[in-house]
Chain length 239, copies 2
Amino acid sequence: MTQQAERTRRIPLSRDRVLTAAVALADEAGIEALSMRRLAQRLGVVPMALYKHVANKEELLDGMVDVLVSEIDPPVRGAAWNDAVRLRVLSARNALLRHSWARQVLESRNNKSPAVLGYMDSFIGMFLAGGFSIDLTHHVMHALGSRMWGFTQELFQDSGGGAAAGPADLGPEARAAVFREMAERYPNILKVATVSAHEDSVAGQGCDDQFEFEFALDLLLAGFERLHRQHWSSTPAKP
Amino acid sequence: MTQQAERTRRIPLSRDRVLTAAVALADEAGIEALSMRRLAQRLGVVPMALYKHVANKEELLDGMVDVLVSEIDPPVRGAAWNDAVRLRVLSARNALLRHSWARQVLESRNNKSPAVLGYMDSFIGMFLAGGFSIDLTHHVMHALGSRMWGFTQELFQDSGGGAAAGPADLGPEARAAVFREMAERYPNILKVATVSAHEDSVAGQGCDDQFEFEFALDLLLAGFERLHRQHWSSTPAKP
DNA sequence: ATTGACAAGTATACGGCGTACACCTAGCGT
DNA sequence: ACGCTAGGTGTACGCCGTATACTTGTCAAT
């Protein structure tokens, strides 16, 4: 009976179950809250049990990236290269935005899993299918960089008030003082921050990240197209 | 005498000394080896002594970024905007390349110190001085993203052999097997990897990171220039 | 010269982390 | 019936950041 009860109650661990739980935990509690111990607890298991399914925490993170990659749509078929690339990147971005930990984890990984290599391979394939030379494709991939994953370093996401000021909200007079100091010390930041702010707040929610992302993406894609049309090559002459 | 000896032997700690030592330690031993305890040891002091000069490890890292920023050249005066931007970015890149920890630390920071804000402000100033609209400048800064700091996510820096394969060097027959499997599973990666490899190795030291960086940078700068010339605006029409 | 405030450095301890290692145990092919 | 093995356990180690409470060395005002 005890065996029976336990058998029905507890489905055995597996690499997949571990990875899925890790993703869920990181989604909910943030990547900094993802520890082997907490993950084990969530799975109703002792910490060391995880090590029967992943070699160590690094491999756990690699596995989480694989989960992420599996959520990216395959390339659309029969589209022009630029549409294909654009859609794929935006699909990756959607996956990324669903998982707040993804950017940080992707940035920290060096060794590529088969899933990651597969994604990169098929990504490269879109340019080659579009008639790009291997040479140009190579450089174009570098130029895309992390934009291939649908993200870039965000510059202005900070907490508004200048410096490492303070966590507390400020009264209106203090706000004005901060504003005045900002205007004096960082006049240019203030200009771009206010031009796009709909609220009266300094550096409010004025930045539409999605717009910024697509702006830069399209700028690059247009540049790629131009180079492709003029048969650009990194080694201009061959004797 | 004892006092005298100790006074001469030990110059007192200071925030600057702490930050400088932290930078040196991270330079030499890698960022993952930088702990408060090790840093204290290097300074001949008990760990908690550091906390009289930095609030916590986060602030230590922020301070290290400030050191980094201080190594970036100021903008050249009297140059065209694109030359100014280009030179400044490459100067930042040089500073970055001197400190292997810089990329990772910059990526992880959210709150900007005054030094960082100052750099951004003067960076923005280069575009404005070049006649860019505030609107375009804003989007252009986003498009640059981390390239402002002289880096991008490196894509191909991995350890050659596919997958999370193994740490050991392989014999020639094993190498060939890996190669064959790569060719089968990741044909496109293999193409771009081999076209730029001077050695017979797969994904050898074929990538000239500096070239790739400048390639993408110049592509973006050219795009910026085009938009500027045609008076691009994110809000095309005004009633 | 004495004192006493204050800043700099110390000592100890806590809770958390990743994970090495030895152990148990259930289920299965023989 | 038996032993192998895969999966799960218990304990322990060394590291980490840092809270708290202490000593000590310096110097200004008395």
